[in-house]
């Protein structure tokens, strides 16, 4: 190989330069937002399931309520829940700014939900 020393040194500099963000943030995870959890007992399903699948549950709720006219969801414990984002979800999770937005912003998710659905606090701003 010609100029081996320069080429290898160049490659090392290149790798180090492009991986600096990884090294600078290594082991730092305090950026993960702390979500205030409402103290009103269990959500629709256990927290771990809600954390991972809330978007799928909500999407399915919509289909069942609007398309099939089934407005009651029976959860894994057998508890019956009236399907409605405005009336049911936001009753406990009234603090949408802290509970929903904080995490969505952190993971750079931009759900369309809030184009139409809204929290009471948000509504005060446009009234």
């Amino acid at each position: 190989m010609y100029n081996a020393g320069k080429v290898i040194a160049g490659i090392i500099v290149f790798i180090v330069f492009f991986t600096t963000p990884i090294w600078l943030n290594f082991g730092k995870v305090e950026a993960i937002p702390k979500i205030p959890v409402p103290k009103k007992g269990q959500c629709v399903e256990p927290a771990a399931i809600m954390r991972a699948y809330h978007m799928k549950i909500l999407d399915h709720w919509r289909k069942m309520a609007i398309r099939h006219n089934k407005y009651i969801y029976i959860n894994s414990e057998g508890r019956k829940i009236r399907i409605s984002l405005q009336k049911t979800c936001l009753k406990c999770h009234a603090n949408k700014e802290q509970f929903c937005d904080k995490c969505h912003e952190f993971v750079v998710a931009h759900p369309d939900c809030w184009h139409c659905h809204f929290s009471k606090k948000e509504a005060q701003r446009w009234q």
């Binding site: 919509r62 069942m64 309520a65 609007i66 398309r67 099939h68 006219n69 089934k70 407005y71 009651i72 969801y73 029976i74 959860n75 019956k80 009236r82 399907i83 409605s84 984002l85 405005q86 009336k87 936001l90 369309d112 184009h115 139409c116 659905h117 809204f118 929290s119 009471k120 509504a123 446009w126 009234q127």
Partner: protein, 263 residues
Amino acid sequence: MAIKRRDFLKFGGLTLLGTAVSSVVNEVLSGEVKAEEYEPSPKQLVGKHWGIAIEVKKCKEAQSKCGFKCIEVCNYLHNIPQIPDKKKEIKWIWHDEFEHAFPEQGTNEYLNEYFKGVPFILLCNHCEHPPCVRVCPTRATFKREDGIVMMDYHRCIGCRFCMAACPYGARSFNWYDPRRFLKKVNPEYPTRTKGVVEKCMLCYERLADGKIPACVEACPVKALHFGDLNDPNSEINKVIKGRMVIRRKEELGTGPSILYIVD
């Protein structure tokens, strides 16, 4: 080595049997059958063909006093924005004169005289054969089993085919963000967003909780009657019995479910 026809058939049969047995064993081993996770609301009002009958003369008498309570209540409950520009306004329930509501009779000056000053309360007719449903490319709008012409705003792409198809002008398009035009917000019902079409959905959310449509409930003189047109014993069928009933643009064959009692 060539396989004999006889052996081939034997193997084939065995494979089929094996598949069948394994699926049965699987079913037995996995135990419980998963129960249905959803059910209709226990309070749900159940009907086959919801409709509203409006007594226009009764409505006229009360009009000066109530100031269209039906429209006011609906506007609040469903967060309907009040947009000053008439070309871009949003309306679910509104009122108009006879010659506009029934344009095919609009040239009949004798009838016009008869209906002078009579407010015709207009809303989505929840047609038996809704043209808006036929043209919707995403099936965002569809006919429910109980006759309500529903909208799934999540699926509306704002193409406005339905608005072109609807002969009653019952659909409105959101040219603006509707939230800018709301004065009083009902936190129990979502708003809509810019770029979707909206209309009256016969208070499906209230029917699920066992309540009748808000406009019918709000009328102080009970000029509006809600009920199942398919049920001969329903209130609406009792009210219209022997009365003179007209529907908007009957000749189009859409089969409106909003009836106007004009005698």
